[in-house]
Symmetry: C2
Subunit: 374 residues, 2 copies
């Protein structure tokens, strides 16, 4: 259940809480990505130390491995990974379109070949609900088609109509499956599609509102379109989406983009940037307190030769943040050395640092809204 | 400085303490391997949580990367890796013989080509001391030749004579370099060689005693010879090596072998088994309290299909051991899943579990000696 506490007088930024079966979360918030049941290099114990109240996991991956039988045996992903916080799962649709070896979309669903062993599967709205309810997700996403950037108007229009029909089928299956779900208190979110066409986006939002969902996601952005287009769509949807439901921007974004979308009324984010870029040696840190400055943060290539002799701590010690007690012990020079000699400890330390950055970014955003500064 | 407290009445097992510039260690002890300045997947913070008072690192690897300039800039490996416990470094000789692309041994030293970029280097006893003193190791090892199993008597005899001359040169260089070392309180250990020939081993030990070292290592075992041969050599050396100096069995061993060598008077061990086998999915755990039983422990293949649905914790919770609070949360089934989907978190959790097992093994050995049971 979402409770909107107030909206900023400076922007559409909102403060509220989202209550799930696994905790009440302050919005806006960010979800680190635990693709296959683990944030890469981190355990659930680590996520607790980082203080993230929620993780995102991927239906497509968990469906293929460990599969439904194992998931049901363990009673869901919370128990499998020993995680007491909240979980959101995507519908599997995005991975079918981005990862699977082949795919064919029909009215029934999406047929695809597993990227692991080539085995054929048909992902329907009903199956997606069944998987997510076996996972025991706190926030379940409807099955949608994530349309590729540059799709024609006609393609978008037909795709949205199908996504709407799939959303209805998702809701019906979600309601029917609730009693046998591994998480009876889970919520269902619809996904707005429509590329960068405002009219289609608003039509999609209206159709979803009519069906009625616990929350509304904006899908199909952060897929290569211009940032200005993305902002325009989020802005257009602000009036269309129910004010008292949470809004989730899927699959984005850079720190300054998160600030921009929060100002346009978004409450929830996920992104691979902090974790994936950590493994590529890119460290995020704050430079200025004022989030409205375009240079409020920097991304440093720790692997650069320039850091070979750097005595600077990877993360500055912060008495309010227990994870920095560990991270501030290690110098940039040490972490660069670990990258050079291919020690995965480098990935772990960088992942801790970057996830912490994104969580701290969201905390600063919430404080800035509370203080009437955003 | 080594202080032998007492010897068992049942065997040659000894209890004592080894005082280093970074702590006083209870013997017998085990050293986890931090090859390139990190125990794979673990940080110094993790090693502290595990409770290991000492780590072993590799001169050959650290010489190539990050190199002497970086090591000196940081003031040694303790500072580079933020480790306040003790450090032992090998001489680099073993890696020259096992890893380098080519090698040629002359009286001067070992010429080799780096396994990374093929660059040529000449590792002399003097250079090995210089590197280890830049590393700031608490326990420095002399440069020796690790003779391959199956070497002829003549080869062994000539090699030992050279190893003895190298040991003398190592000591001279060690003493000369002390004032500019990153660790003025470091100790120097000699290395007994001689294959599985008792007579040559005792000759080697006598020659090293004459030079005089802070401790004596038994090198060139655990390289493919029969366990019985290895025991015979350790037994023969018991009378030959000074009783009041620590003895270090290099590069071994399985848990039951450690028990056997402790009974034959060995005080120090290192081994890749707990860390390397962790990454291969092999989990070590105790089955019986009695260390004299051949089946006191088991090694479980966590990756086996049989563990797919296993609810059993990876490690049983132990109120005396803080690391188990984390590890006991995760089931075998979850860790197997992590291996299946190639999440390095599996390596990390298994490494924590196995290093803990080896440290706990040593604790049980020490208690057994104290209790007059070993």
């Amino acid at each position: 259940m979402f409770t909107k506490r107030f909206e900023s007088s400076l922007s559409h930024a909102r403060r509220g809480t989202l209550t799930t079966g696994h905790g009440t979360l302050e919005t806006p918030f960010f979800m680190p990505i635990a693709t296959k049941g683990a944030v890469k290099t981190l355990s659930s114990f680590d996520i607790e130390r980082l203080g993230s109240p929620i993780l995102l996991s991927n239906t497509y991956h968990l469906y293929l491995r460990p599969g439904l039988e194992v998931m049901r045996h363990f009673g869901g992903l919370h128990k499998l990974m020993s995680w007491e916080g909240a979980l959101l799962t995507d519908s599997g649709g995005y991975q079918v379109f981005s990862l699977a070896k082949m795919r064919k979309i029909t009215e029934e669903g999406a047929t695809f070949a597993s990227h692991i062993d080539g085995s054929r599967h048909l992902l329907t709205p009903e199956l997606s609900m069944e998987i997510q309810q076996a996972i025991g997700s706190d926030i379940v996403m409807v099955l949608d088609e994530c349309t590729p950037p540059g799709s024609t108007y006609e393609y978008l229009r037909d795709s949205i109509a199908r996504t709407t029909r799939w959303a209805k089928r998702s809701k019906d299956a979600f309601v029917a499956g609730r009693s046998t779900s591994n998480n009876p208190s889970s919520q269902l979110f619809g996904i707005v599609q429509g590329g960068v066409d405002e009219k289609l986006r608003c039509e999609s939002a209206r159709a979803l509102k009519e069906i009625g969902f616990d929350g509304y996601a904006i899908g199909g952005l952060s897929v290569g379109e211009a940032f200005a287009d993305s902002c325009r769509i989020v802005e257009a949807l602000h009036e269309e989406l129910p004010k008292d439901a949470p809004r989730y921007f899927m699959g984005g974004a850079k720190p300054e983009e998160i600030v921009a979308y929060v100002k346009r009324g978004v409450d929830m984010f996920d992104c691979v940037i902090p974790t994936r870029n950590a493994r590529h040696g890119l460290l995020y840190r704050f430079v200025h307190d004022d989030l409205s400055r375009p240079d409020f943060y920097e991304a440093i290539h720790v692997t650069n030769e320039a850091h070979k002799m750097s005595d600077e701590p990877l993360v500055a010690f912060d008495a309010n943040d227990p994870i920095t007690a560990e991270l501030s012990r290690y110098t940039m020079g040490y972490v660069r050395h670990l990258f050079t000699v291919e020690e995965v400890l480098a990935h772990r330390l960088m992942t801790l640092a970057n996830v912490r950055f994104y969580l701290e970014l969201m905390r600063r955003i919430r404080v800035a809204i509370d203080d009437g500064k955003l």
